[in-house]
């Protein structure tokens, strides 16, 4: 295997895991199976260590899935897993299937098994576990009783396996926190994935190295559960995105589409485009003159990728590591969430050495193997998808334009003026309830008191006589940020309002949105003939950003260090460049 994404043998993995130190992120995983799972658990534990986790593992007794799940007092529930893996071997299922005597029941086998799966999930939930459930799909192996007639024979075992896998997928679609892990794609191409001697002698259903391989991909998936996944794909151009060198060969002679081995590059472009549709940000990092590099995106009719697919386009003659640092700065995401594709081993090396966290696959020499190789790495593992993810590209394109602007102005006031910001501050309305609740749930940094509210709570605030509620929406000449701030004030007595919640999205830091909001709040409070606003900072490990917020807004320290008071009688409207709309 290659050096970027090595898949270790069981024994190599044992050694690698031994050498990991300083892992702090806990992960609690339970494994239930109908076969000998000890090697699988050991391999998974080792993979999780290598991935940087501090794993605790639970193994159910041999072939005791249902009894373990039904029993509320079982060790499983005491263990309190974050993730429950159910891994059933089809060979065991086959014995069960053969013990059914009538063809009618055999035909219903997949339904009976589906009911069992549903029942297991219900038991897990009924017994109070909210663990994520990762269910292995069933290995598709034909017992060759009906050969290629299987599709017409409802009581064929192979036919039932296909249907059972479909049942699993259908069930998963609407079952929260239930995921299907497809074993078939990882068995394909694995040499001697089953050791039949060990199967007969020791009930070992897969070879120990197969367990190591499967658990490699499972650990990647768990990594995504823990928030570690790739968000950005950075592409080199010459001989990566197209064949040939645009600066030397010119627009007509680069290979993409029908010319030369252009199909290989087209495949890569199509894949990148689909990733972008899924919400992965595309960036270009190329040693080229910018206008020359952009030409194919604008003028070549067989290019799949177009300029509007690219969030950040960097083409110059600077060091690639520096250019990637720039891309990282604009996107404000971790290097560990970026993938860089470049055909040139020297460039890959420079980037790897300066930015060790970034993933830099060792692209094969022959572009025909680019895609098969990239696919084998499963780089973009994810655990969530929403329609909104698609908008990300345009958001980051806007952000890149802002960054360019800020580098062209000399002072902050000029910059803020030139953004032509327009703000809207209003009380909560019913359309925004879910977004407001989501912000209170998710915001950690710009969050004064970190009070978490449900949609029901937010609706109550909205209808309360005793509260003042605000949402702030912001746009500028580059685009619309949408709803970016939530503020809730509670009337404490005849002359005082207290700031219960003040949250803002970090995307709009340093735009003086706080000033814009406070001016409006003060106006409203004064109109109620009230002269005092009090506030409090509740420190958490993540909200240091706002420890001085109230002080900066001219609140005075109250009796203790984290409570503040603002007397409105002498309040002077605070400067900002946001136009009220």
């Amino acid at each position: 295997m290659n050096k970027m994404n090595p898949i270790f043998s069981f024994r190599e993995l044992q050694k690698k895991a031994k050498n990991t130190t300083g892992n702090v992120t806990d992960i609690r995983v339970a494994v239930l199976g109908n076969h000998t799972t000890s090697f699988f658990i050991k391999a998974l534990e080792n993979q999780l260590k290598v991935a940087g986790f501090n794993p605790s593992m639970y193994e159910s007794d041999y072939d005791q899935i249902d009894i373990t799940l039904i029993d509320r007092e079982s060790e499983l529930y005491k263990f309190n897993p974050e993730i429950i893996v159910v891994f059933e071997s089809v060979l065991k299922l086959k014995d069960k299937f053969y013990s059914i005597k009538d063809t009618e029941s055999q035909s219903d086998f997949h339904k009976t098994e589906k009911d069992i799966i549903q029942n297991r999930v219900s038991n897990i939930r009924a017994n109070g576990s909210d663990a994520k459930i990762v269910y292995f799909s069933y290995e598709l192996i034909d017992d060759e009783l009906y050969g290629n007639l299987f599709s017409k024979i409802p009581h064929s075992f192979y036919n039932n396996l296909w249907q059972l896998n479909n049942e699993l997928i259908t069930f998963s679609r609407n079952e929260p926190d239930f995921y299907v892990f497809d074993i078939n794609k990882y068995l394909k191409g694995t040499e001697n994935y089953r050791d039949y001697t060990a199967l007969i002698n020791s009930d070992l259903h897969y070879s120990i190295d197969t367990f190591a391989k499967i658990s490699h991909f499972l650990a990647q998936f768990f990594n995504a559960f823990k928030g570690h996944f790739k968000k950005c794909l950075i592409l080199d151009l010459d001989n990566t995105t197209w064949g040939g060198i645009i600066g030397d060969d010119g627009l007509e002679n680069i290979q993409v589409g029908s010319l030369g081995i252009g199909k290989a590059f087209t495949k890569l472009q199509k894949w990148a485009k689909e990733l972008k549709e899924r919400g992965v940000i595309l960036a270009i990092c190329s040693k080229n003159t910018e206008e020359v590099a952009k030409e194919p995106f604008e003028k070549h009719n067989e290019m799949v990728l177009r300029l509007d697919d690219i969030s950040i386009f960097v083409a110059n003659w600077k060091n690639k590591a520096d250019n990637i640092r720039y891309i990282q700065e604009v996107l404000n995401i971790g290097f560990d969430s970026m993938v860089f594709l470049d055909d040139n081993p020297a460039e890959r090396d420079i980037v790897r050495q300066s930015l060790p966290a970034i993933t830099v696959p060792e692209l094969p020499k022959d572009p025909a193997y680019y895609m098969p190789y990239i696919e084998s790495l499963n780089l973009f593992e994810t655990v969530s998808y929403s329609e909104n993810d698609k908008d990300r590209t345009s958001q980051y394109q806007q952000e890149a334009k802002r960054k360019k602007l800020i580098s062209s102005v000399t002072n902050m006031d000029d910059y803020l003026k030139s953004l032509e910001m327009k703000g809207n501050i209003s009380p909560f309305n019913s359309d925004d309830v879910s977004r407001v609740a989501q912000l209170t749930q998710r915001s950690n940094q710009f969050n004064l008191r970190t009070q978490r509210y449900t949609e029901k709570d937010i609706t109550e605030f909205m209808n309360s006589e005793n509260h003042l509620t605000y949402t702030v929406k912001l746009k500028d000449k580059f685009g619309d940020y949408g709803l970016i701030s939530v503020i809730i004030l509670e009337k404490k007595n005849d002359n005082t309002y207290f700031i219960d919640t003040w949250i803002m999205s970090c995307r709009v830091l340093k735009r003086d949105v706080e000033h814009f909001a406070l001016n409006k709040i003060v106006e409203d409070v004064k109109n109620k003939d009230i002269n005092i606003i009090t506030g409090e900072y509740l420190p958490t490990p993540k909200n240091k950003l706002v420890e001085d917020l109230l002080k900066k807004l001219t609140f005075e320290n109250d009796t203790n260090e984290n409570t503040y008071i603002l007397d409105l009688t002498n309040y002077k409207s605070r400067k900002n460049y946001i136009e009220n709309e």
């Binding site: 069981f10 024994r11 044992q14 031994k18 000890s38 090697f39 050791d195 039949y196 001697t197 060990a198 007969i200 002698n201 020791s202 070992l204 070879s207 120990i208 190295d209």
Partner: protein
């Protein structure tokens, strides 16, 4: 035999993660703490990989001690 016993010893030490293991042809599983039924499966796989051979299922069940395992390996290597 002496060459094989050294190779076996190195392999056992590595797989069972115990540098103090000393093997003789008479060594049996109960002589070595780490050599339980699970690790036995692991050992068999690693011996097969190391010598590039594949034992038959009945062979594996017949071994009484390390010497007999080595005899099996030899038989495979020489055929």
């Amino acid at each position: 035999m002496s060459n094989y016993i050294t190779e076996f010893e190195t392999l056992f030490r590595d797989v069972l993660e115990n540098e103090d293991i000393v093997l003789t042809p008479e060594t049996i599983a109960s002589d070595i703490e780490e050599w339980d039924s699970i690790n036995h499966i692991y050992l068999v796989v690693e011996i097969e990989k190391h010598f590039g051979i594949k034992f038959s299922s009945s062979e594996i069940l017949q071994w009484q001690n390390v010497g007999e395992m080595i005899d099996s390996v030899k038989a495979h290597k020489e055929n």
